[in-house]
Amino acid sequence: MVMESFSFMQSISFLLLLFPLLGFLAIGLFQKQLNKKLSGIIASAFVFLNLILTFILFWYVSTTNQSVETNLFDWIKFANISIPFAITVDRLSALMLLVVNGVGFLIHVYSIGYMKGDDGVNRFFSYMNLFIFFMLILVLSSNYLMLFIGWEGVGLCSYLLIGFWYKDHANNNAAKKAFIMNRIGDLGFLIGIFMMFHTFGTLNISEVATKVSLMPSGSTALLVITFGLFAGAIGKSAQIPLFTWLPDAMAGPTPVSALIHAATMVTAGVYLVARSSVLFVLSPVTMNFILIIGIFTALISGLIAIYQNDIKKILAYSTVSQLGFMFMALGLGSFSGAMFHLTTHAFFKALLFLAAGSVIHALNQEQDIRKMGGLRKKIPFTFALFAVGAIAISGIPPFAGFFSKEMILSVAYEHGMGMGIIATFISLLTTVYMFRLLFVAFYKPESDAVKTNHHIHESPKVMLIPMAVLALLSMVAGFVQIPALFSTNVNVFENYLSPIFLTAQQLVPASGQNLTVLTEWLTLLIPLTIIAILVYMSYVRFAKDRLPSELSGIQKVMANKFYVDEIYDFCFVKPTEKLSLFFRETVDQSIINRLINSIGNSTLYVGGRIRLLQTGNVGFYLIIMVFSIIAILFFNLIR
């Protein structure tokens, strides 16, 4: 094999994978020896190096509009199948690199403070670096199989980190639930990959895209492939019907929830669909399906979030809802809109989780918002940062959430007035549950638990500074893409991604009607007015010390998460258990087991006979050799 020499950019993209792997190995292997204070710094340093490399690559791809493709080695090669271990940095993956490494680095730094004093801190950081490694494989891979490896790898890390405090049984169950529910989606993903290979004979992403663009729209093969891929996305991005694992996944440490279950891993599904945009636009049935799933997920989880009392669960359902919102954008064909919301969401949701972590840290692991209240004065910095996050996610200008939501909403309105109103309603739900959370936790008069707790303290700087950076990003990140209404010149984000989605857009041009300026103003102003009213109403409703009223019928259903877990338990888990009992007792024990055992026993018997040939007598060995040679010569010469 000839090692081709790598260009500077190629070496950098390779180093991107190497650094977190090194971090994982260094910290993982010397877990016991390594000083607990050091591991966090080492892990953060590796991610920081990655971040610098990311800036270089980002600068390169955004100025030259070229992608950096690196073929490291042939990973699988036989017959006519060749799957190289190759990575591609184009504009889309560079954006994801920024999110993963940027947010990842900030959360690593935050974790140094958050995980201080935990026994398994070395284990924690080794897993975190491993996660970055797999996430980068997912983002950088230039074929679907490697993408799948990264996909499974981040699932593994998610499993390990949800069950990080493995001594508590509930955490283990949550980890298992996440793992198994993801497997269901991954099965679909795998089927999609197989079908893709069967149809196109390649798994290379760009080659597949080229071949697809020559196919007619809506063929059955494409339908199967896109449904398969989307099934994977449903599992990973916690959409209906596989969304129940994400709230349970909050059992892990809060930085994990921020990094994996809010900013990066759960958005992999969105990335996958955006990455395969050409395939999806040519399968309109799947696009509609994505749209419906997205809308329902966003709606249902938004409603559930309103009636939750666990601070992290509220944020988790909010994540599910925002992901649903992104899928809705994908379903509408606005890939850049989805990616934009993914980016801004990574900033403010990570911020919210980190701030929630800071609250939990301050209150000694208290997560129930009813036992909080009045924290505004106790931990003012955290409060300010949390408020920034809440404003950003609610879509209040001029924070980032406003711009990304506006981009999606305008597409929705172009699609039709009904669609626009639904989308607006979903985005308004965000305001309700976020401000309820904000007012109950920070404004309401202090609860007894808070009053008696004298240890409430502001988090250390190492936690506050990363949050402050995220808050800054949540404030200003939106200005790269200003709605056309104000200025038609500032579409940095859309222009940046346009080469990626060019083919998809040419294949299926946007069909929406243009709105009049007046309608546009109305669709912008009416929701903003409602937001203002909602904020005021929640202030009145939640910030005052009022006894929680009895929940009415439908509210109870929402508070109990629409009984989805129970329904799944009844419909799938119980019958499966019954079926497996039948298989174990009847089929396995009395039929298969007996068959297998007899095969094994006869094998052992043959082994026992053959063993006797080995007598230990050299003369015997030599005689057998001679006889064998005679037999060989005999059979070869007589023909």
Partner: protein, 116 residues
């Protein structure tokens, strides 16, 4: 070469051996006595151990001698063609003898040459 002739030969060979053994069994009478069990049925009876042990040193010397014996065997043909091969051959034989010398030196150092 036909396979039939070889197979026939094989059968005849086996049959000959089997027949020869069994003819003896059938016609001969068998008896056992003390003399029959001895190693030599004629001549003088052996006295003492039949397995004479030589001193291990003999073997060592023999081996070392053999090495230099072979060296001479190699040197003779070399000597006849040295003029044609030139300086290279001279250098190579120098290395050859050097290695043998090193071997001898090692044997000497390990006291293989001193009689114990």
């Amino acid at each position: 070469m036909g396979s039939a002739s070889l197979i026939v030969l094989l059968i005849i060979a086996i049959a000959f051996a089997v027949v020869a053994v069994y003819i003896g069994r059938i016609f001969g009478t068998s008896s056992t006595n003390s003399v029959k069990g001895e190693p030599y049925e004629c001549g003088i009876e052996t006295k003492g151990e039949t397995w004479v042990q030589f001193h291990i040193g003999y073997y060592l010397f023999a081996l070392l001698f053999l090495v230099f014996d072979v060296e001479i065997v190699f040197l003779f043909p070399w000597a006849t063609v040295i003029r044609e091969l030139g300086v290279v051959a001279l250098v190579e034989i120098f290395f050859f003898t050097l290695f043998l010398f090193l071997g001898l030196l090692y044997a000497y150092k390990k006291k293989a040459l001193s009689w114990m």
